[in-house]
């Protein structure tokens, strides 16, 4: 799976979770850039990403990911399809 595909699929997940079709994520996107992305929505987001890519984040990763770029690298290393 290449980076472009990951970001396209992440876009769809983000748009779905935050109910906003205008969202387009980049490696530099952080929670500050998306209004509804708070600690509670982060839980919903993480489960949605895990479902989409059929993978699991490790506990430490959930709180330590600095931006969507870091999320994408973890997905690239671990996604099953």
């Amino acid at each position: 799976m290449d980076t472009r595909e990951i970001f396209e699929r992440l876009d769809r997940v983000f748009q779905d979770v935050f109910d906003d079709d205008t969202i387009h994520v980049t490696p530099k996107t952080t929670a500050d850039d998306i209004e509804d992305w708070d600690s509670l929505e982060h839980i919903t987001l993480i489960s949605a990403v895990e479902r989409e890519f059929r993978m699991k984040f490790k506990m430490g990763e959930i709180s330590s990911m600095k931006n969507v770029g870091e999320m994408a690298s973890i997905i690239a290393a671990r996604a099953k399809g």
Partner: protein
């Protein structure tokens, strides 16, 4: 030992800085800091220092075990056992009396209530220790192989007693690699003085107002008097605790450590969620990372997690029902805002947003203040005017007016400083491209701090009790 004390400011701190400066190697500097930190703690807690030493050794050892048994079930056992013992120590030393009292009340038994004085700072350093072992287990930090370096992290006197709850990852690199230049020393000292001024000049004076009105039975206290005092109390808690955090962050800086900010002008918030992103940030982020995101029955549970976090936030503040109530009260508003949605709340008029948040926060501090539930009920009867309608309390009283008249400048000044005004003035001067304006800013900030230090010192000569509110947590 407390920060707002002439002995600390003029003897302990200078002595520590001199020894620190004289030490050539960083490893010696670290030893100096450990020795001074232990003296600092033992000054007020000659016995409980043993508990601090035990907790630090135990958690360091758990870290070693996690590293040794990495990726085996034994690592899970080590981290689980570690957290269990940490929580057990907290339960014994902080909550045993509360638990026994409630057990007695429910069952009618007469178990003797343990009389344990709270070891100062236990809530803070235990949370730091838990964050460390979990971080080791989740591999977000490296296991610290040297005990004395872990002891330095846990016992570092600037943050030992009342936070911020510094994460190991924040100081991990700086334990082995840090330097202090003239700017660090100067900026750190200015921050310490600012924190002392917040505590000694503002918070202490606000506290005497609170004590005049709330220091006795509040039955019969007027509606306006109750509102006035709880607003003053809200300001007091902010100045007391954020002043302490300023001192902690400033002291850390003077020794080359860069702690994260713990307060970012919380009263400027427009939602309750934002309030908690600005108030006691290190506690909120602790519960977010180590409780909210932790899976229960297979995965993180959003709403279960939310109320668990707020229950624990309340309980963390003290072993009494009002604190639990206070936590859950915030949990309800968090849920309300979550259901309302940020987008919809953003459309509210700005005045309404401020009225809503300030009302919630101020009434919340009422719950926070009254550990006696009878008095808490009376507080709500007074503040809502029900007491007045029932003819048991007046709308206003002369004492409130005279107190307001005498303290109006202090209160207005406190409100002004609690909003992001000072940083704006600071950045106007210090980010100016005009050399004269910049120079005025530099010299001015030092001059203001010197005056503040002089005032603080004079005020401290006459006061004997300067314990910070958060010492009891």
């Amino acid at each position: 030992m407390v920060f707002a004390d002439l002995f600390f400011i003029y003897v302990f701190l200078p002595l520590c800085l001199i020894c620190y400066g004289l030490a050539k190697k960083l490893s010696t500097k670290n030893i100096v800091l450990i020795v001074f930190s232990l003296i600092f703690y033992a000054w007020g807690e000659p016995l409980w220092i043993l508990l601090l030493l035990f907790s630090s050794f135990f958690n360091w050892f758990i870290g070693i075990l996690i590293g040794k048994f990495r990726d085996t079930p034994r690592a899970k056992l080590a981290v689980g056992g570690g957290i269990l013992v940490d929580i057990l120590l907290l339960l014994i030393f902080k909550y045993s009396a509360f638990i026994v009292e409630n057990l007695n009340a429910v069952s009618g038994a007469a178990i003797p209530v343990p009389q344990i004085t709270l070891p100062i700072g236990i809530s803070f350093y235990t949370f730091q220790a838990i964050s460390y072992i979990l971080d080791c287990y989740w591999e977000t930090v490296d296991v610290q192989p040297k005990y004395h370096k872990f002891l330095l992290y846990l016992s570092l006197f600037p943050q030992l007693i009342a936070g911020p709850i510094v994460r190991y990852s924040v100081v991990e690199q700086e334990i082995d690699n840090r330097s202090v230049n003239a700017t660090d020393l100067c900026e750190g000292a200015l921050r310490v003085i600012l924190g002392l001024a917040k505590k000694v000049i503002i918070a202490n004076n606000l506290w005497s107002i609170v004590n005049t009105f709330f220091g006795k039975d509040i039955t019969g206290l007027s509606v306006l008097g109750t509102w006035y005092t709880i607003i003053v109390y809200s300001l007091y808690v902010y100045f007391d605790f954020s002043g302490y955090s300023d001192i902690a962050i400033g002291l850390g800086r003077m020794f080359g450590f860069h702690f994260d900010e713990n307060f970012r002008h919380p009263f400027a918030c427009t939602t309750i969620a934002e309030f908690w992103q600005r108030w006691h940030i290190s506690l909120g982020s602790f519960f977010r990372d180590y409780l909210l995101y932790v899976p229960f029955f297979g995965k993180p549970r959003k709403y279960f997690g939310l109320f668990l976090v707020w229950f624990c936030t309340g309980l963390w503040h003290g072993a009494a029902w009002n604190f639990i109530l206070w936590g859950l009260y915030y949990g309800c508003f968090m849920l309300f805002e979550q259901k309302m949605g940020k987008k919809r709340m953003k459309k509210w008029p700005i005045v309404w947003k401020h009225v809503y948040t300030k009302l919630v926060i101020i009434l919340g501090f009422g719950i926070f203040y009254f550990e006696n539930l009878g008095q808490l009920g009376q507080f709500f009867l007074n503040i809502t005017g029900i007491s007045m309608i029932a003819n048991s309390a007046p709308f206003t009283d002369p004492m409130t007016f005279s107190s307001l008249r005498n303290n109006i400048f202090l209160i207005l000044f406190a409100i002004l400083v609690s909003l992001p005004v000072l940083p704006k003035i600071k950045s106007y001067f210090l980010e100016s491209k005009n050399d004269t304006v910049y120079a005025i800013g530099r010299v001015g900030s030092v001059a203001v701090c010197m005056v503040l230090l002089a005032v603080v010192s004079v005020l401290l000569v006459d006061t004997t009790n300067n314990v910070f509110l958060y010492f009891r947590f």
